[in-house]
């Protein structure tokens, strides 16, 4: 087991079955104290199940959960050093903001004066000073989530669990709340475990991200690692705007693999693991790292170029996306900052080339 002082959460071979269905398959990972850790993945992948197991709302079928070194697998939620912010507003509608926030402190039989001070301090932390007397139905969506956050933070727990806390907010508010959450987490310094299916949200707040899909921990790493250097094909397909291409190994050397796409061959940076000739592989390139090449005699070192046909140009304000069909009828997206006239002369149906710097591709073994 890791150092319990530095490790806030350790999950060992954790599994959950509902009848014949495996909601979670033997997941193991650890989270450092004070980290903002995000569980990211598609809906139904097991993220919320994992979070609720850590919170004690459901019992694991297999495995153990350690919080600060203590096995809490058998403990109910009120006995664990955790608190939770829920997706749908779980404020108590018959209590005003002050009573909602003070609820946990009253359970601990704290003196009234102390409760009052703590509640006011935490409300100012979340930007809701003066809202004490309001009822939940008198608050906006963002304000309700802040009250939930205040109610959890006021308990001075070490680990805060957030189950898609921003899912019900509009896009603008979600962005603002992301930054707010990060600010609060840095200020209070406790461990946050945040479940979301929104990539932008995860990349904004997280120190580390774990990709959960089909009950498995697919990959974990920093936001930059996950985005720029995804290890698995799934992560590459899920995060960012990656283009995935499939082929077979036709040649290898120390640094590069030659991948036969069927209509052309390209070089891709090799992985440390050995691959055999003819083995099926995939590689990904982020859409912003692809370029459209109009010139027929483009021949720069360190670039891979493949033939394509422009299908559609989509202007999205800050960026412009170019939907391109490759020779094997698969489609890729090239994304560029909208910069006036650069590619506006290329027409749909026109034959062009798509290129990228060799080192920008990431290999994934099938």
């Amino acid at each position: 087991m890791s150092n319990p002082i530095e490790t806030a959460v350790e999950v060992v071979n954790l599994g959950k079955k509902y009848g014949p269905v495996n909601a979670l398959n033997s997941v193991s990972f650890s989270i450092e104290s004070g980290q903002y850790y995000t569980l990211l993945g598609p809906s139904g992948g097991g993220k919320t199940t994992l979070l609720r197991l850590i919170g004690g709302f459901i019992r694991p079928t297999a495995g153990q959960i350690f919080l600060h070194g203590q096995d809490v697998s058998h403990l109910p939620p009120n006995k664990r050093p955790t608190s939770m912010v829920f997706q749908s507003y779980a404020l108590f509608p018959h209590m005003n903001v002050e009573k909602n926030v003070a609820y946990g402190l009253k359970l601990r039989k704290m003196p009234r004066a102390e409760i009052f001070d703590k509640v006011n301090w935490i409300l100012s932390l979340v930007g809701l000073e003066g809202y004490n007397e309001r009822k939940p139905h008198e608050l906006s969506g963002g304000q309700q989530q802040r009250v939930q956050l205040a109610r959890s933070l006021v308990l001075d727990v070490d680990i805060l669990l957030l189950d898609e806390p921003l899912a019900a907010l509009d896009a603008k508010l979600r962005k603002d709340m992301c930054i707010e959450l990060k600010r609060i987490q840095e200020k209070v310094g406790i461990t946050f475990i945040h479940v979301t299916h929104n990539q932008e949200e995860a990349l904004t707040v997280a120190d580390r991200i774990a990709i959960i899909a089909d009950g498995d921990l697919v990959e974990q790493g920093t936001a930059r690692d996950i985005y720029e250097t995804p290890q698995t094909r799934f992560t590459a397909g899920f995060i960012g705007d990656n283009n995935l291409l499939d082929g077979k190994v036709s040649d290898t050397n120390e640094k590069y693999l030659t991948v036969d796409l069927g209509y052309t061959k390209v070089n891709v940076p090799a992985l440390s693991s050995r691959l055999t000739l003819g083995q099926g592989v995939s590689f990904s390139i982020r859409s912003e790292l692809l370029s459209l090449i109009e010139s027929d005699d483009f021949n720069e070192d360190g670039w891979q170029v493949i033939p394509a046909t422009l299908l559609e140009t989509i202007y999205l304000g800050l960026t412009t996306s170019y939907l391109v069909r490759l020779a094997d009828s698969s489609e890729v997206v090239v994304r560029k900052i909208s910069s006036g006239e650069k590619h506006s002369k290329i027409e749909s149906g026109q034959n062009i080339k798509v290129g990228w710097q060799t080192d920008h591709a990431r290999l994934h073994i099938n």
Partner: protein
């Protein structure tokens, strides 16, 4: 949802029909109460308002005792049925086999009152005999007499009768409650009981109190099962029925029927008025908080 293109007379006719149905249902009750205040009773050409019949009824010691037994039964039925119905409703929410569970809970409703009463009578007779046998075999004296016809057997009959109603009313109220609030309370450090009492119960309180009122009225008016299972004491409804069968509808009978009807209407009316006033208060607050409509 209002249809702006609908004929307003359609809405008026619907309300007229509704009021007509209520009037048809309540007419016999109000007529009975009307007669109960007539000095000359039913069928008399002259009507002289009087409380005399009520004074006679409430001055009759036997009748007062029967009212007391009825109240004891009603209070005991509420005290036992409501917690049972609450637990049933909570179990229903967690159950995977909801249809089967509801069918089980509602099954007593499908058995006619006299069949249920006579079945329970036979059941309690046998059970009482078994406990008497046990008492003789084990030499434990206090086992004898269990399930002899009396207050306990009458109460069990009323619980079986009223439980489905209480279950449905509480379930309807519970359906609006979000279980995430219980989880949020647990996450704040509340035990299961604290989460229920401090967070869930305040929100389902109206349904629980409505169920209490419902069970009280059902218990107050229940005659068939209670008549078969009560043993040696009399309830108000049993006395009324016995009087009607033996003597016919006397002035006292009308007064007794009037008492039961008035008590029932007061209880139901109070619940309805409180619910209506509370809803109005909440709506008024919501309107005050709502954004003003701006014309373009």
């Amino acid at each position: 949802m209002y249809d702006n293109f609908a004929n307003p007379w359609t809405i008026r006719l619907k309300w007229l029909y509704l009021l007509g149905v209520v009037f048809a249902l309540m007419c016999p009750v109000f007529y009975t109460i009307y007669i109960s205040f007539n000095e000359h009773g039913f069928g008399a050409r002259i009507y002289d308002f009087t409380f005399d019949w009520y004074r006679i009824v409430l001055g009759d010691k036997l009748l007062v005792v029967s009212i007391k037994w009825t109240l004891y039964l009603a209070i005991s039925a509420v005290a036992t049925t409501i917690p049972m119905a609450l637990l049933s409703a909570k179990f229903y929410k967690r159950s995977r086999h909801k249809v089967a569970f509801v069918a089980l809970m509602m099954s007593p409703l499908f058995v006619p009152a006299d069949i249920m009463g006579s079945s329970l009578l036979v059941f309690f007779k046998n059970l009482s005999g078994f406990f008497t046998f046990l008492s003789e075999v084990l030499g434990i004296g206090w086992l004898e007499g269990w399930f002899d016809l009396g207050f306990l057997t009458a109460l069990i009959g009323q619980i079986i009768y009223t439980h489905p109603y209480a279950f449905v009313v509480i379930l309807i109220t519970m359906s609006r409650y979000r279980t995430q609030q219980t989880e949020a309370a647990r996450a704040c450090g509340a035990s299961a009981w604290q989460a229920f009492w401090q967070v869930e119960f305040p929100q389902i309180r109206v349904g629980v109190f409505s169920s209490c009122a419902f069970v009280t009225i059902l218990s107050f008016n229940e005659a068939v099962r209670t008549g078969l299972l009560k043993g040696g004491f009399d309830t108000f409804s049993n006395v009324l029925v016995a009087q009607m069968l033996n003597i016919g509808m006397s002035g006292e009978s009308y007064a007794m029927a009037g008492i039961m009807s008035i008590v029932s209407m007061i209880v139901i009316g109070s619940v309805l008025i409180y619910t209506f006033l509370r809803a109005e208060h909440i709506q008024r607050k919501a309107r005050a908080m709502a954004e003003p409509v701006m014309s373009e």
